[in-house]
């Protein structure tokens, strides 16, 4: 009896702790949404008002005319979709080579791939920038960003891990039926890799959507600004900085697509990250 009572108290304490923690985690988002519905002059007030007096829904209309939201979102969407497709295609293709074809130097090459995951990008961003300039990729619209993001080692790694769990017998019998290795990749491996492809697609899409440093360095032309860099310049701009509530409306809009994707595909995010940690 006592043990059970104690257990119940323990559980209650646990819940209080978890709820407090969830508040700490989510309050910034609550604050962001509330501020986006205030009047511009009401974002900074004393005393602090958590909930706006009148909800200014028109902020979400005004931001499109006051800032180049349309262009930013369009650029970000194009970039994220193209990068995701390329990453899926080249990543899974290379992964098949690493997982199922044996040739000299393969394992050393794979080790080189994995080792670069542990090298911080900040350490080689300068030589990378110089190289990109030398081959005349900088200043060509979204291209430098596409090249930069689409050939990551992460996709190769993730897909290889997954391909290795698919029984070899399936490919073997396909081979007997006369399917080429490319055919096996397309007709056997890809259809069986749905969850892994979904994980990789979602993680790549979100990373590209949220990338700030890459666009900061490579996208210097306003016409090609992504949402992140656009919002940042809007904030730094003297005209924009007075439009506080609009800035928050823009922030909410910038994370809304990610929030929707996350809610729909949560399982794939978690599985993708969990797989990446399993290499030990």
């Amino acid at each position: 009896m006592m043990g059970k009572g104690l257990h119940r108290v323990g559980k209650a304490v646990l819940y209080v702790f978890l709820v407090a923690f969830a508040v700490f985690l989510l309050v910034p988002f609550f604050w962001m949404i509330m501020s986006s519905l205030k009047k511009n002059i009401d974002v900074f007030t004393i005393p602090i008002r958590w909930i706006p007096q009148v909800f200014q829904w028109h902020n979400y209309v005004d931001i499109w005319t006051q800032a180049a939201m349309g262009t930013w979102l369009q650029n970000t969407l194009i970039l994220s979709v193209v990068v995701t497709l390329l990453q899926l295609l080249t990543g899974s293709f290379a992964a098949y080579g690493f997982a199922r074809v044996r040739f000299p130097g393969r394992d050393a090459l794979f080790l080189a791939y994995v080792a670069t995951i542990a090298v911080p990008w900040q350490a080689y961003m300068i030589p990378q920038f110089i190289l990109m300039t030398k081959i005349h990729l900088t200043g060509k619209g979204l291209w430098p960003m596409i090249v930069l993001q689409a050939f990551g080692a992460f996709g190769v790694f993730l897909m290889k891990q997954f391909f290795e769990t698919i029984p070899e017998e399936l490919s073997e019998s396909a081979r007997l039926d006369g399917l080429s290795e490319y055919g096996i990749w397309l007709r056997i491996m890809l259809p069986l890799s749905g969850p892994a492809l979904a994980s990789l697609a979602l993680l790549t899409f979100v990373t590209t959507w949220n990338d700030y440093m890459g666009p900061l360095i490579y996208l210097r032309n306003r016409a090609y600004f992504t949402i992140q860099i656009g919002l940042k310049t809007f904030q730094a701009d003297p005209q924009g900085s007075s439009l506080n509530a609009l800035l928050f409306a823009g922030s909410v809009l910038s994370i809304l697509p990610i929030a929707i994707i996350f809610l729909l595909g949560q399982r794939f995010f978690i599985e993708g990250i969990a797989t990446s940690g399993m290499k030990g």
Binding site: L25, L89, T116, Q122, F151, S251, I273
Partner: protein
């Protein structure tokens, strides 16, 4: 990395795989003409799969990393042709007080951030690995900050931290704190503010890694330990900790790298300021080359990049050695050189950052540190060979 359990195959004639290390070596008759042709065909086939990704990967990652090692020893400024200058860049860096401060600030961010994030992520993972109502919601809530854009995060946290208009200080006032910190506009509190935001943002990611690790530990182990009368703490130490070792290794390596390279969070929140109070190594690299007040000193910045690279490499190698040692039977004194080595490392970093020598210069401490770890590494590999 993980070598496949399922034996790799070649198309049509699986026998030929043997020579390159598969299981069928005994069956293969040695290099023959037929075999060589197959090997060539496999190589072509393998490369045809890898090439589309590899060309991009080599261009944007491998070549730049190799170039880094060359550029760091030149005076390249993007206009003139680079001249080999040997260690001149490094000597200049050592004398540069801004760089010294940047190294100090990088450690000041990284160490508390690694400890806080690691512990919170593990605690959260253990809590959320239990059968509780609403677990899915809490997991999602913990993870969501990690996939939120850094710009939106900076905008909202800067407002939350605002000294006069921010809710955080309002709450502190409410609890009777008369002079709450000025957070991002004060040079003492800017870094703690960034550490808080960094922890808030990243712990959900590491929580997921820990959760995945926890799920690989069989529940029966816990039940058996309970029957044997082990309390919660004993179960944690004797089951959870060893069971999580591969995960912990991965988490600490990634977390350390992510902390030492910190850049975008600082760029969007404080822009290195106020003054240079949040100026870190990555920020130094950026400012010298691509930033607003760029001096175009690409060679010089590459030397700073190389320092960052070696800090991350050192941390990774340390973790690797610790991980290798973990399941060995070893004498009690075997962790001494490691502890002494870490003390030397701390003295070297400290000496470098403040610019004073404590009995001997920081460079000597660095040498001692390296010696200690070579000793630890050699000792570990001897033990491993003996015990395997």
């Amino acid at each position: 990395m993980s070598t496949t359990a399922s034996a790799p195959r070649t198309p049509r004639t699986p026998r030929a795989t043997g020579a390159s290390g598969g299981r069928r070596t005994s069956a293969s008759p040695g290099p023959t003409r037929h075999h060589n042709a197959l090997r060539r065909r496999n190589t072509a086939l393998g490369w045809s799969f890898i090439a589309p990704n590899f060309i991009g990967f080599a261009l944007i990652t491998m070549v730049p990393i190799i170039l880094l090692f060359y550029m760091a020893f030149t005076d390249w400024n993007a206009l003139t042709t680079p001249n080999w200058t040997g260690l001149a860049n490094f000597e200049r860096l050592m004398r540069n007080t801004t760089f010294r401060a940047a190294v100090a600030q990088t450690f000041y961010y990284a160490i508390p951030h690694i400890i806080l994030t690691g512990i919170l992520a593990l605690a959260l993972a253990i809590l959320l690995n239990q059968k509780l109502k609403g677990v899915a919601f809490f997991r999602a809530a913990a993870f969501f900050p990690y996939i939120t854009s850094i710009v939106a995060i900076a905008i909202v946290w800067n407002l939350l931290f605002s000294p006069t208009y921010g809710p955080i200080n309002e709450i502190l006032h409410f609890f009777g704190v008369a002079n709450p910190p000025k957070w991002t506009v004060s040079s003492t509190w800017a870094m703690p503010a960034i550490i808080i935001v960094g922890t808030w943002r990243e712990m959900g990611y590491y929580m997921i890694l820990f959760l995945a690790g926890l799920q690989t530990i069989p529940r029966e182990l816990y039940e058996a330990a309970k029957v044997d009368g082990a309390n919660a703490w004993q179960r944690f130490v004797h089951i959870t900790v060893p069971g999580l070792r591969p995960t912990t290794f991965f988490v600490t390596v990634m977390l350390a790298i992510q902390s030492f390279k910190v850049f975008d969070l600082i760029q969007v929140m404080t822009d290195g300021g106020p003054g240079t109070s949040t100026y870190v190594i990555s920020y130094f690299i950026y400012q010298k080359t691509l930033g607003y007040y760029s001096t175009g000193e690409f060679g010089y910045a590459s030397a700073a990049s190389l320092v960052l690279f070696f800090i991350c490499l050192t941390v990774t190698v340390l973790q690797f050695i610790v991980n290798q040692q973990a399941d060995l039977v070893k004498p009690w004194w075997s962790s001494l050189p490691m502890i002494v080595g870490l003390v030397f490392f701390a003295l070297a970093v400290w000496g470098f950052c403040v610019g004073h020598a404590l009995i001997i210069g920081w460079g000597w401490y660095l040498v001692l540190f390296v010696l200690c770890f070579v000793a630890v590494g050699v000792h570990t590999s001897i033990l491993r060979r003996r015990q395997s």
